[in-house]
Symmetry: C2
Subunit: 359 residues, 2 copies
Amino acid sequence: MTDFPLAPGSTIGVLGGGQLGRMLIEAASRLGFDVAVLEREADSPAGRVAAKLIVGAYDDEAALAELAAATGVVTYEFENVPAASVAWLAARGVEVAPGPKALAVAQDRFEEKTFLNAHGAPTVAFAPASTAEEAAQAVAAIGVPALMKTRREGYDGKGQRWVEHLADAAAAFAALGGVPVIVEAACDFVRELSVIAARGRDGETAVYPLAENHHEGGILRRSIAPARADQALSEQAERIAARVLGGLDYVGVIGIELFELADGRLLVNEFAPRVHNSGHWTQDGCEVDQFEQHIRAVAGWPLGPTQAIAQVEMLNLLGDEVDAWPRFAAEPETRIHLYGKRDAKPGRKMGHVNRVKPL
Amino acid sequence: MTDFPLAPGSTIGVLGGGQLGRMLIEAASRLGFDVAVLEREADSPAGRVAAKLIVGAYDDEAALAELAAATGVVTYEFENVPAASVAWLAARGVEVAPGPKALAVAQDRFEEKTFLNAHGAPTVAFAPASTAEEAAQAVAAIGVPALMKTRREGYDGKGQRWVEHLADAAAAFAALGGVPVIVEAACDFVRELSVIAARGRDGETAVYPLAENHHEGGILRRSIAPARADQALSEQAERIAARVLGGLDYVGVIGIELFELADGRLLVNEFAPRVHNSGHWTQDGCEVDQFEQHIRAVAGWPLGPTQAIAQVEMLNLLGDEVDAWPRFAAEPETRIHLYGKRDAKPGRKMGHVNRVKPL
């Protein structure tokens, strides 16, 4: 078994070699930890700063065995980690955080919304469907327009379709691949917000101020944080975060996406059991950012402070937008975070900037 | 030849694998750079976060060739880089920053003080000596007590002796190994200060606020920054920094140690052609810290802002003091920076903490 709090000099395992892994390593390095990354690609943003890189599939037992030999604590930077891999590691005494419950709930949109409602975190109305007939029934029950999403996989707006007419339900179901789906009611929100929160191994929680998020084509473009919010709104978000974290017996940082309704109520859209793009503002807006907070939680350290020390506008740099780095570098108020990705495909997250001003 | 500004995704070379290298890599990673480290030890703080680790001596041509193949820009984290290695790299089109002049001057305490005085940066009185007779003459000229130091090598109080009586000069010279020395007048300072400054490839300079430093046994224990300083004192420091940076045609971050006299004048004690322990406060006290600033300068990027956004007390953690990490981790105002060193030998710099409060 692993002893907590984990001492500096220990190795922490990370499944996934993307930018979230890279920024977790930057934070882990500051705290004196080494990081072992398991990643499919031989060249990756996180792999290039990892103390140890294991190249393999996330369900490759030889790769997992190598990871288990290197470390007693593993976390991940994406939610589609195979449950069997987590079970395999756990059976060998490796602590995986966030734990299997958080992963299982987060990997299935129907389980996720069912869990949220059961724990007093409201969502839009929803219904599951596994056949074309059930899909039509679900759309009829929810009403149009409705959003049909695959229960599993899908991110950044992928794996979902709007259904404008009941008659289109079966076609949408087929277009999504005929896999199990969830049908969600449309949400007439006034703003998209998110709350980044953390829970330690001792159950301590810490919640960052709300971020206001702007998406384009399903991809986050811009976050403003701390978001303009009265005390009632902030308290709602904190209550939701506490219920979700407690209900999942969570360890680590979570990103919870919210809809703000005209009447001031918050609904939960979804959560990600990991550090979250809408929390990147904390790198330059808080003393302890979401990456260090996640490492602290996973390592069994006390959580750090979460209050904002600056007002931040976070802009994602997608595709060749990253080519504007010389302009950003010349702006005194702009902090630059680039991921070292080799290929600036359209829409690909290549980096972000935090434009900082005093609170 | 290397094109500047250096584009993200490029590799920067670092000679030396210690904590300064590690923190340079943390900053370089944020900006999307990869780092190749050349270091004697197979296991080192910086080696464990480097994209590429080359194990070899700093004057090993095969190792230098491997470094030159990986990158067109090389910097270093310690001042005793062999001049021949820098020349070897430069002859192969590799830009080494800070350049050979800064290194040559910084490596010889007599050259350093001569340079400083020639550029209007005042120092204590000093005289060189290469024999026991010259050492006695130098002490006679400077007066006692005098500080005798080897001209080359030596750090953290090593390689130096106080001479209290003229009759002890020859013995001190012998005790220092009979190598060329410099004899310096004692300085009756009221405070030890330092200024961290940077110069870009285009000659742009940026100066951080002064830090007040407290040493024990020749080793930095504690810095307080921004130091209490009136405008005249800050302007003196900025003037000194500008003269030193300009005189050396410098590229990168420099750490300049200063003595404050009772009459308010500043004398230069010495400078280090690299990021500096007394600049660690910038990690949590400034938007762009000395490590990112150095990477920006070396990469030919514009320099970042240097004003303080918080008041910081930096404490070095020496030897087993690092074992107190659980206490520091529980302090909300304390930011932790640990180096991942395996062996907490007495006096060894294992990490530091920045205790932060609002300005």
